[in-house]
């Protein structure tokens, strides 16, 4: 029998799930229906800010090809909303009037932008309608609003100092817009980054031409533009930040209302167990931004420390891959094997790597503790568990800052600002759970100019011609024997007879010899 699988949502995580389920669809063991409320097939939301500043094209963002999926036998419904899930009948009721049935239903509904509570905005959480000149940054339509502002050289106010806000601000500034980032708290990235990193980050943003308004509490929006649109963001101290476009970047919230509507348990997201199943509902699953892995077992150690949805796409993709394996086994009738599939490993804390051209920053894990913060460092060191250790480098003058928070040599948190090689190394060490070199300063020197310098050119005994294995001493000896040109040295020693890259060095040694003779 063909198993009917219905996927609600068609974002990047759903796209990965569908890709991985295609073999089961092609072989006929599964019938797949995917329902997306946007008119486009899945595209890469991570790059919406890039699109908004005109750096890329909608075509380049595509993650799925609806026509190709249809050709493979997938039932693709675009621009269609799910009105309701009927769990009793195992049906989804759609806005196009149809109601496909399912054996397995997967929520991949993602999240929606948080609309802050400001006077002048009318936030209906289910269907926010924003006034002209105000936009979030979540989909292709938001991107085109931003694009017209940036292309017109307008003033852009970004509300929110999170990573998406900063990326948008940097990209828009680089493309010629006048940009102000407004955030509360002493520095951008709030609790993701420590004070040192945050301060260097804010300074670096300013160096990149972004105005940064910190410790700002916004209270309202002014609409005095000629078209009645946005004209200024009002702060609680009575001041106002003028602009032509307000970009709301205040975080996202899982889209759970459909799940709630059919009686599933939700917290921040739709609650699922370690097999990504909704609590007490073996036919329904949730993955990606809308899902919160927290099993019903109150004794579960892993879930005691579980965090809500990360808002990052990587964990969602891993869930999609795992669920595809699981659903494929179920569809093929191998339910014992499906149940035997090892659960997905717990996710590491998310890594934030700032996508920007002019500056470099990476943050991951818990970086709140400072090197002398004895209480924080020893807090988790019980039952033989090692204490936290902090290594730190701060050079605000040159916009550089690094913090490595380790336990038993393995990173539990990191901050790196202004040091690209260091940041790349630290992030992959963090992700692999690999032990750092005991000499942490090694990781700070990767960006140094000394790393690329040729070594030992002053040593007369060094190998000058690597191809023929001839030392400087041997070439100098040939020169003293009367060789006055490179070809003569080559004939005598074979130096310079391979790649020829050492001819200048040979010439130098000959000249040094004869100068020495004159002097």
């Amino acid at each position: 029998m063909t198993e009917r699988i219905v996927v609600v949502g068609f974002g990047p995580v759903a796209a990965r799930l569908i890709d991985e389920l295609l073999p089961a669809v092609r072989s006929g063991i599964a019938h797949l229906t995917v329902i997306g409320d946007e008119p486009e097939a899945a595209y890469n939301r991570v790059l919406v800010a890039d699109l908004g500043v005109g750096r890329t094209t909608p075509a380049a963002l595509a993650l799925a090809d609806a026509a190709a999926l249809v050709a493979d036998g997938v039932d693709v419904r675009l621009g269609v909303r799910v009105r309701r899930v009927d769990r009793a009948r195992q049906q989804v009721l759609l806005s196009d009037g149809t109601s496909p049935g399912y054996e397995r239903l997967v929520f991949a509904t993602g999240s929606r932008p948080v609309i802050p509570n400001l006077t002048g905005l009318n936030p209906d959480p289910a269907a926010p309608v924003l006034p002209p000149g105000v936009t979030a940054l979540r989909d292709l339509r938001d991107a085109s609003v931003l694009h017209s502002a940036v292309a017109g050289g307008k003033r852009v106010v970004v509300l929110g100092g999170g990573v998406l806000g900063l990326e948008t601000a940097l990209a828009a500034a680089e493309e010629g817009a006048t940009v102000t980032v407004v955030h509360n708290g002493p520095h951008p990235l709030g609790r993701n980054i420590d004070r040192g990193g945050g301060s260097v980050l804010a300074a670096s943003l300013r160096n990149c031409g972004v105005r940064v308004a910190g410790n700002a509490r916004s209270v309202g929006v002014e609409h005095n533009a000629p078209d009645g649109g946005f004209s200024a963001l009002l702060l609680d101290d009575g001041s106002a930040i003028d602009g032509d476009l307000l970009v709301l970047s205040c975080g996202v919230r899982p889209r759970t209302e459909l799940a709630e509507g059919c009686g599933l348990s939700t917290a921040a997201g739709i609650l699922v167990d370690h097999k990504l199943r909704a609590h007490h509902e073996p036919h329904i699953f949730a993955i990606g931004d809308c899902a919160e892995v927290r099993c019903p077992d109150p004794e579960c150690v892993q879930c005691r420390t579980a965090r809500g949805p990360s808002g990052l796409v990587g964990p969602g993709w891993r869930q999609a891959e795992w669920l595809a394996d699981y659903l494929t086994l179920l569809a093929s009738g191998a339910s014992a094997e499906a149940e035997a599939l090892p659960s997905l490993a717990a996710e590491l804390p998310g890594v934030i790597v700032l996508k920007a051209r002019g500056m470099n920053m990476a943050v991951a894990g818990d970086v709140s503790a400072d090197p002398w913060d004895e209480e924080a460092l020893t807090a988790g060191a019980v039952n033989g568990r090692a204490r936290l250790q902090i290594a730190q480098w701060a050079d605000p003058e040159h916009g550089r800052y690094v913090k490595m928070t380790t336990r038993a040599g393995v990173l539990e948190g990191l901050v790196s600002v202004g040091m690209p090689r260091t940041s790349a190394e630290l992030v992959q060490l963090f992700e692999r759970g690999a032990e750092l070199p005991a000499d942490r300063s090694l990781l700070l020197r990767l960006d140094g100019p000394d790393q690329a310098a040729a070594a030992g050119s002053a040593d007369p005994g060094r190998t000058v011609c690597r191809c023929a294995g001839v030392s400087g001493t041997a070439i100098a000896a040939a020169a003293s024997d009367g060789c006055g040109t490179v070809p003569e040295v080559s004939a005598a020693t074979r130096a310079g007879t391979g790649c020829g890259g050492c001819h200048d060095d040979i010439k130098g040694i000959i000249e040094a010899h004869f100068q020495g003779a004159v002097a």
Binding site: A62, W322, L344, V353, L442, Q451, C467, C499
Partner: protein, 760 residues
């Protein structure tokens, strides 16, 4: 008599032109009719004077340059260790000389017995990428017609098959460099991935100078290799990714090309198919994400994309891949990702830009075109293609049904040695699998389980040492023939010296054996006669040599295949059209394969080990070639690089208390290697490097895995997990990682010491 010849170097695929002369003052020690150098008399004069002098010869590829290997190559002609008579292994395990009649008689009865008892596929042939075109062609014919076996493959499967498979699916044709090497001279940007030409083929480096001067040499290597060092001082960029992440890196560069609007839209529309799927396949590999996977900063990824695009509009941009990115279980996909990047930028098939893969072995190009591969017939024809089979049956004058079907690729072939349905009797030509094949301990065990092993070599290599019968064959300076260099140019190898009297050419051996086995069709010991047949055989195939003959090569004409009769050859491929029907190049969407959630091989690999595993990569030293069977016997080279050294980062070494020059053991579940450590900041801290030229306890391939790429059958050589320990010379290892599954390595004594004791 003064002899001499214009020929090419015996070693790598650059095939540097050289002139061999016999100085008047020097009489060749070995002349027809005289006694060969015997072991006793040679022992009195351990360093015999070379019979020939070597001089570099001006040629577009090497421009008169040679590396140390080339300069010293003549010293092997009269080397005291040379095998000059057939050697039969006695019951006591000692090799003793026998006559050629007896040797050939033994082979014929072994073949007949294996065939009678186990069927024709119980006889196998393992060829080499160093064999001339004539030998490679006739070896394939010998296997299929004289032995009647499908079981033939060759060591090129370890080198070229992933790039070959990628080239075939993208362009419809695989020629290493589809353009003359000298085209690189004018390039503004050259991206080299996983290739260390400064060590492996030094004269090649001349062709990088233009790009270095333009600041556009970009080298991707986990080590700051000699080639990567050329990028310092403004020569370009060095990208130092984690081993095994090249595919993600290439997708990241392609992502940057697409998203920064650097792609060549006109070219993509006019000359390619599959673009949209390729775009989707890279959409989720934005540079910052790729940075997290590879350790290469996003800024460098973008900069690479820009320089490639910029170079294409100036002097030209080239993308070149080597074994470092190809010798992986996803090698074909990685080479495909490199080609996709090149296609996005409009490089392949343009007059001054392109994609190429650097062939390694001397005839690695020709050797893969003429029927040594398990799945191919001469002319790069598919053995499963009825038209190709009909063509070959006609050329060979045999019924088509007599030509066996596809055999097993090299790693599978070696795994089948001595197995119930596997190969029981094996011929090895121009390969030293006991050192060069992955999981070498298992390969040696396979060789020992054979009923009969015949090895053709000029030295008692580690593989020959395992043989029941060793057949002495001619060296390069003693034979005529052709090779096809890394550019697809066919070159003449010429004889400068008469071989020692006990030595035969492999063409002669195959011809005699074919006669004795009553083989159909014709076999010849004359290279030109064989080449004339190769011309007919290749005619109409992808690698068409039908318009090439010895006379034109002797006139110095530059013959690049495909060279159909009546044409002028093809120095630059794809200028008008690609080789697929319709003439378009094909993007194939590739993505890193995820590890199955149910596999936990990483945990298995750690059984019995403690501490942090390191990633082992392998490669070459400038002084040695391949398994070192030849170069370890050249005094000057052995002196310069007498032993394997493990390159590791001082930070990694410090954690184990290892100092520069200490003996270390490198182990995993497949074996143990023992050698000195060489500390260097040129390598990534979690990565270690071993050269693969050394045998026994220093044999890097004792640690490599025989997992293969599903498309090409090429093994994973570059990401073995290993554990490093300080070894106490002459005693037990420190730590707890002693001899896990290691055959015959219990002492921890370095190989060099053992060998010295054995030979003294």
């Amino acid at each position: 008599m003064t002899t001499g010849a214009d020929t090419h170097c015996p070693y790598c695929a650059l095939q540097c032109a050289m002139t061999l002369t016999s100085p008047a003052a020097l009489t060749p020690a070995v002349q027809p009719g005289s006694d060969p150098v015997s072991e006793q008399s040679a022992a009195d004069t351990p360093v015999a004077l070379p019979l020939l002098t070597v001089a570099g010869r001006d040629f577009p590829t090497n421009r008169g340059g040679l590396c140390r290997k080339g300069w010293t190559s003549a010293s092997l002609l009269n080397h005291t260790g040379r095998v000059t008579e057939p050697l039969l292994k006695g019951a006591d395990g000692v090799h003793r000389p026998v006559s050629w009649d007896e040797a050939l008689g033994r082979i014929v009865s072994a073949v007949k017995q294996a065939r009678a008892e186990h069927g024709a596929d119980a006889v196998g042939v393992f060829g080499g990428g160093g064999l001339t075109n004539e030998k490679a062609y006739q070896l394939g014919k010998f296997a299929r017609l004289a032995l009647g076996t499908s079981r033939i493959d060759y060591n090129g499967r370890f080198c070229m098959s992933s790039a070959a498979a990628a080239g075939m699916r993208a362009f419809g044709l695989d020629r290493g460099l589809p353009f003359p090497l000298a085209d690189l001279d004018a390039a503004s940007t050259i991206l080299m991935l996983g290739s260390n030409v400064a060590e492996t083929m030094p004269p090649f480096v001349q062709h990088l100078q233009g790009a270095r001067d333009a600041g556009g040499l970009i080298v991707v290597d986990p080590r700051r290799s000699a080639t990567a060092a050329f990028t310092s001082d403004g020569g370009g960029l060095h990208l130092q990714p984690l081993p095994g992440t090249d595919l993600a890196l290439l997708l990241g560069i392609s992502h940057a090309v697409i998203h920064e609007g650097l792609a060549d839209a006109g070219y993509i529309a006019d000359r390619t198919t599959g673009y949209e799927a390729a775009v989707r396949s890279v959409a989720s590999f934005w540079p910052e994400r790729v940075q997290s996977i590879t350790g290469v900063p996003a800024g460098l990824i973008r900069e690479t994309a820009r320089r490639l695009a910029d170079g294409a509009g100036k002097g030209g941009s080239y993308i070149l891949t080597g074994r470092g990115v190809e010798q992986h279980v996803d090698g074909t996909d990685t080479a495909t990702a490199a080609i996709n990047l090149a296609l996005l930028l409009g490089l392949p098939g343009s007059a001054r830009s392109g994609y190429g893969t650097l062939t390694g072995q001397g005839n690695g190009q020709g050797g893969r075109e003429h029927g040594q591969k398990a799945d191919q017939l001469p002319g790069y024809r598919k053995i499963t293609d009825p038209a190709a089979r009909a063509h070959m049956a006609k050329v060979w004058g045999v019924p088509e049904a007599l030509i066996p079907g596809p055999g097993l690729p090299a790693v599978e072939l070696l795994k089948s040695l001595g197995q119930p349905d596997g190969v029981r009797c094996l011929f090895v030509h121009g390969a030293n699998v006991a050192v060069s094949a992955p999981d070498a301990n298992a390969v040696i065990a396979g060789l020992r389980s054979l009923d009969f092993l015949v090895v053709c070599d000029f030295f008692l290599s580690e593989t020959a040492a395992e043989a029941d019968l060793v057949l002495p064959v001619t060296q390069w300076a003693e034979e005529e023939g052709t090779l096809t260099n890394l550019e697809g140019r066919v070159l003449r190898r010429r004889r400068a010296l008469t071989p020692p009297p006990g030595v035969r050419s492999e063409l002669w051996i195959m011809t005699r054996l074919a006669e004795m086995l009553d083989a159909p069709s014709a076999f010849s010991e004359d290279p030109e006669t064989v080449f004339e047949e190769l011309r007919l055989a290749s005619s109409g195939g992808l690698a068409d040599y039908s318009g090439i003959d010895y006379a034109m090569l002797d006139r110095g004409e530059a013959a690049y295949w495909p060279y159909p009769a009546g044409s002028e050859g093809t120095p630059r491929l794809f200028l008008e059209a690609f080789a697929h029907a319709g003439g378009r190049a094909v993007f194939t969407a590739v993505t890193p394969r995820r590890r199955s959630v149910s596999s936990s091989s990483a945990d298995r690999a750690g059984v019995g080990q403690s501490g942090t595993p390191m990633t082992l990569i392998t490669g070459r030293l400038m002084e040695h070639y391949q398994s070192g069977a030849q170069t370890r016997r050249v005094a000057a080279l052995a002196e310069a690089q007498p032993e394997a050294r493990l390159q590791l980062h001082p930070a990694a070494a410090a954690a184990q208390g290892i100092a520069d020059g200490d003996y270390v053991s490198i182990s995993n579940e497949r074996g143990v290697v023992s050698c000195r450590a060489e500390l260097s900041t040129d390598i990534r801290p979690e990565t270690v490097f071993l050269p693969f030229h050394f045998p026994e306890l220093e044999s890097a391939n004792r640690l490599t895995e025989s997992a293969t790429d599903p498309i090409s059958g090429m093994p994973e050589f570059k990401t073995s997990k290993v554990w490093i320990r300080l070894a106490v010379p002459g005693g037990a290892m420190c730590g707890d990682a002693v001899s896990v599954g290691a055959a015959g390595n219990r002492s921890g004594v370095p190989a060099r010491v053992l060998q010295a004791e054995e030979t003294s």
